[in-house]
């Protein structure tokens, strides 16, 4: 069908990109795995075989336990919060109200900002200082006579990471809204009309007809948000710096590798992160690319 010359040319054109991804993604992952199975500690590479020692050590490492606990709390608060808020915003904006475009732009603008900027601002909003040094949202709550809302934010013992999740919800719920809004727009209008004629209430229509149709969107949102929360890093650094109480795997990896020079351990954390992300993402990629070939 094609001229042979063009067939080779097409391979030549994409090969630099494919080669780059082969090296920088797959080659580097393999290299990281090798480092994670070594005894490398200190500035000079040391590839002495250590087997799964680094992984086993993490399993018993109290700091890693804190990381997992924090990741679980963060994921629950962030994913559920963004999902519910994003869905409700999409439903409200799908009612054909005036000013829809305005609200949509407002809800989505944090996506254009870096986690660092978000973190720097929320660090002041969530300032935990008390008494005469009180500031940020706590100060606002007090002046509005909403004292019961005053809290220690990210310095709350055990649950502090949930405050970071709040800032992340601020940043990402608009994105969730946009995905749901696109899904809602694709629901045929006749379907709603038919249900209305059958006497279904608006709430019933959403619960029984629209939500089931949106299942693929919900699944996509869950996977995107879920894998984002496994990778959370910059936002925590910008709000609170490196604090053990707010530690997550991504920060532990960074600190232990580049501050502590425990390269082998850092690589093991990186690979564990990769595996947890891959469990979510690989089925998702297979699902979306399969859908495409069936169309």
């Amino acid at each position: 069908m094609f001229k042979n010359k063009d067939k080779y040319l097409s391979v030549i054109l994409v090969s630099p990109s494919i080669l780059a991804i082969l090296i920088f993604v797959y080659g580097f992952i393999a290299w990281s795995i090798r480092v994670s199975l070594s005894k490398w500690k200190g500035l000079n590479p040391d590839f002495t075989w250590a087997g799964f020692e680094n992984y086993v050590n993490l399993f018993y490492d109290p700091r890693f336990h804190i990381d997992i606990r924090n990741t679980v709390i963060f994921t629950l608060v962030f994913v559920l919060g963004s999902l519910i808020l994003g869905f409700l915003m999409a439903v409200m904006l799908d009612q054909g109200l005036r000013g829809e475009g305005f609200f949509r732009s407002i809800f989505l603008f944090p996506m254009a900002i870096s986690y660092i900027v978000t973190g720097v601002v929320w660090r002041w909003l969530m300032n935990p200082a008390e008494g005469s040094r009180m500031s940020g949202l706590n100060l606002l709550f007090t002046s509005l006579n909403l004292d019961f809302l005053v809290n220690e934010w990210y310095t709350t013992p055990y649950w502090g990471i949930a405050a970071i999740a709040l800032a992340a919800i601020w940043q990402m719920s608009g994105y969730t809204m946009a995905l749901y809004l696109a899904g809602l727009r694709a629901v045929p209008g006749e379907l709603r009309e038919a249900a209305r004629i059958d006497g279904a209430s608006e709430v019933e229509i959403y619960r029984r007809i629209i939500l089931p149709i949106l299942t693929p969107v919900t699944l996509g949102v869950l996977i995107i948000l879920g894998h984002t929360s496994l990778k959370v890093f910059d936002l925590i650094i910008a709000v609170a710096g490196k604090q053990l109480s707010l530690d997550v795997p991504a920060i532990y990896m960074w600190q232990t590798t580049f501050d502590g020079l425990f390269y082998a351990r850092g690589a093991a954390i990186g690979i564990l992160l990769l595996i947890s992300v891959a469990v979510l993402i690989i089925p998702y990629i297979r699902y979306t690319t399969k859908m495409e070939t069936e169309l």
Partner: protein, 272 residues
């Protein structure tokens, strides 16, 4: 119909409440930024400024200017190069497929989701062995790890174009590169805008690669801002002004090209 709309008007209450939630940080940034140095007091942080002063912005700009320049120097070429490569890849992988093209594509996609902690140790070693330290290495990292999403966006766009468009040109004897250059490239401008905006925004906002691959003279704005915020000597009002300066380029892009920004977001979730 109008009665139904009237009934829906109560929705403005939660919508306005949410608007306040999303704008509170911006309010704080703006009012703090425009206060003069004498007005800066944590007790009055929510009050409007008494006049318009630029002290904070001047101070923040003086401190951040070199890093702002680094970011521009880094992000613009990186966004351009990865977009051009993505366009070529997308063309080949949708309209000029070789055997195995469909098998390779999901493997390219996976690269946009990986946690970079899993490749950062080899990346640092590779870059320093290749002598690509600082902004050069960082730029190359942004180009390569940007390839999956740029390829995806262009591939989806080209795949949506009818095959007849190409067939006619082929019969007329156009070569592959001729078809790309004279038929596809001219109609790809909107996709280029989407991809360029996406790459500009994500490279501008990146922190992890930047903090690990660059030293203190080559920091981009995110790393400089984070260090400014962590320092005890720089007061919070200057940090707020600095936040606005760091966010302004991507915010302006969002304000003026929001439609394209949204399309990039959608592509990032594999939703075309």
């Amino acid at each position: 119909m109008s009665r139904l709309n009237l009934r829906k008007n109560w929705l403005y209450i939660p919508l306005i409440g949410l608007t306040i939630f999303y704008l509170i940080p911006m309010y704080l940034i703006l009012v703090t930024g425009f206060k003069s140095f004498d007005e800066i007091d944590l007790q009055t942080m929510w009050q409007l400024p008494q006049g318009i002063a630029f002290d904070n912005y001047i101070e923040a700009y003086n401190q951040l200017a070199p890093y702002l320049k680094n970011s521009f120097k880094l992000v613009i070429p990186a966004a351009l190069i990865s977009s051009i490569l993505g366009s070529i890849n997308g063309f080949v992988l949708s309209k000029w497929k070789f055997r195995g093209a469909d098998i390779i594509f999901p493997f390219i996609l996976f690269g946009m989701f990986i946690p970079y902690q899993s490749i950062i140790i080899p990346l640092v070693q590779f870059m320093s062995a290749a002598g690509l330290t600082g902004l050069w290495g960082l730029g190359i990292a942004h180009i390569i790890y940007g390839l999956p999403i740029t390829t995806l966006t262009f591939r989806n766009y080209y795949a949506s174009l009818p095959q007849e468009l190409l067939e006619a040109a082929k019969i007329d004897g156009a070569s592959m590169l001729g078809i790309y250059r004279h038929i596809l490239l001219p109609i790809s401008i909107p996709s280029f805008v989407v991809v360029l905006i996406w790459q500009f925004t994500s490279a501008w906002n990146d922190f992890l690669f930047a903090v690990i691959l660059t030293g203190n003279t080559e920091w981009p704005i995110t790393v400089a801002l984070n260090n400014m915020a962590g320092s005890q000597i720089i007061s919070w009002n200057v940090q707020m002004a600095g936040s606005l300066i760091a966010a302004l380029p991507t915010l302006l892009v969002y304000i003026f090209l929001g439609r394209y920004f949204l399309r990039g977001l959608m592509a990032g979730s594999l939703k075309g």
